[in-house]
Symmetry: C2
Subunit: 325 residues, 2 copies
């Protein structure tokens, strides 16, 4: 039996990433069988282990070997002479960027089936001179058309657009772009187990435009795009009233709600799946998941961070790796 | 002891309004003590009673008398020679409009403390020649600044804007209009029991603009408006990231989340409070509530409509009338 190799980055050394990673992998015996490879600075991992009173049985990762179950370390030393917990800094940003870059490089070279990323600080990346606004934007540059999606037992959501001002997100709702998106999403979902997935599309306007009284995008762009995609065999329907479409997708394993902008999808997702939701990037040649929360600098170093979302991200990466890529 | 007089309209005769009204008032003994006065066509009420096998002990309403507990009828005959259940029609629209207008007239004349409105069809109103897009717009014309809010045990939400295209809703986010809104909302909430209410404001953009990276409305208009209102003693804070602000308001009795556009508020509200949520209009000289669903023509006349939201609307009207107006 072949088991997958799954990279796990440690995130910003000043945030809760190292803590939730160690808490999760300390219970590796209860996780799906895989080689879990930590990408991070060994000094940060050791220091956080001491703080938590946990010790991971870390083997050294040798990517050439056939994978064996266990927890391994791929050292990605950062310039961490004086890293600080609980704050944004350039050294922390440089460290989390290097670890992420190393993991993605290994995945693109085919040595990892999946990468799970702990939270980073975009502000710290900027201080370190990396002009990219987060994991998903970095991946989107390497693999244009990467899709941000969110996954939990109760609700699955894919975002047509994510990190842009609402005003721009409204402008971006055009028929051609929507059709391209439906194709990429359907293709990305097709590589996951549990499908085929049906897509329920939210409208842009209240009541999905109410026959044009409350907006024209539904008639002008959205409905034509759905018709074109459906004619190609993509199982997409809508646009539905945004305030009830997520109820329609709730607790349905094979249904993904499609949101046209960031908060349309994340408001319902976080309400239903807070602390257990997983961020999934679709459309890559490998699986990528991450917890759906940030660095939480305010509680870093206190040992109180909730590792559930990280654990779910690791479990989902393993589940998707079973048939993915 | 003085008990309140509460008007209850029967809604579109072709929808589920008459059914949920009769189901609710048939249990009037378990409702707060009040005079519940039905505004509707007696023929519709009698016909629906027969269908349901329920009979309300209807007294005739004499508005001059001091109110006694019970269920009364204020006949508002519609042109209902041939009304049809389960469909949009001009006769149905005319009937529901007349009943609503009669109830609002009685409330504005001081004869009712509250009006509970069963669902109407805006399309039927339009067919009947009434160029007003629903209850709230009608009330907003009579009392400019009327505010649409949603109320349940779990979540309370007020909407800065409601029935307008998203593109226009974004344009409407201006400092002066926001300050006026906070004042009106604070005033309206001040007349309700259970306060004082604290206001948690959602941002417009993802992550509330993330320091300008994801939109400028927060810095340019929203934050200045919050500062001005707070300086006047209005307990408003924010703007908070839209995808977590509703979690912050959840299960807090004295907290109202403020949404900047229709779906920002209604997506979380319907997800959390479906079937038990109540629509409340604030800023009127009387209390007005209604169930948070529509006419449901598809299930009308079948006896299967869920009356819980209507019952909650009646209970809330009674609770608010205790100290309101």
């Amino acid at each position: 039996m072949t088991i997958p190799s799954i990279g796990v980055t440690s995130g910003d050394p000043g945030g809760i990433g190292p803590e939730i990673l160690i808490k999760t992998l300390a219970g590796a015996g209860a996780l799906p069988p895989a080689a879990y490879i930590i990408f991070g600075d060994p000094r940060v991992i050791r220091s956080e282990e001491e703080r938590l009173g946990l010790r991971l049985p870390l083997g050294e990762w040798r990517p050439g070997d056939s994978a064996e179950p266990g927890v391994f370390l791929s050292a990605a030393p950062g310039p961490l002479e004086d890293y600080r917990v609980g704050a944004v800094s350039a050294v922390n940003g440089e460290a989390s960027f290097r670890a992420f870059e190393a993991a993605i490089g290994a995945a693109r070279a085919g040595r990892l089936a999946a990468v799970v990323t702990a939270p980073v600080s975009k502000a710290a990346w900027a201080l370190a001179g990396h002009a990219v606004r987060g994991h998903t934007e970095y991946l989107d540059r390497l693999h244009p058309g990467a899709i941000m999606a969110f996954w939990s037992d109760r609700l699955k959501v894919a975002l047509f657009s994510h990190h842009r001002p609402l005003r721009e997100a409204v402008e971006a709702v055009r028929a051609d772009a929507l059709v391209d998106f439906f194709r990429a999403l359907h293709r990305g979902l097709g590589r996951l187990p549990g499908g085929p997935y049906r897509l329920l599309l939210a409208g842009l306007n209240p009541h999905a435009g109410e026959d044009g009284y409350l907006g024209r995008e539904e008639a002008g762009d959205i409905r034509p795009a759905v018709d074109r995609a459906a004619a190609e065999g993509i199982p997409v329907s809508g646009p539905f009233p945004p305030d009830t479409v997520f109820l329609g997708a709730l607790d349905k394993k094979d249904t993904v709600a499609v949101a046209l902008y960031h908060d349309q999808g994340l408001i319902p997702f976080k309400l239903v799946s807070f602390a257990t939701g997983v961020n999934v990037t679709l459309g890559l040649p490998f699986v990528r998941t991450s917890p759906d929360h940030g660095t939480a600098f305010d509680i870093a170093g206190k040992g109180v961070a909730d590792p559930r979302s990280m654990e779910e991200a690791v479990r989902l990466a393993a589940a998707f790796s079973a048939t993915g890529s």
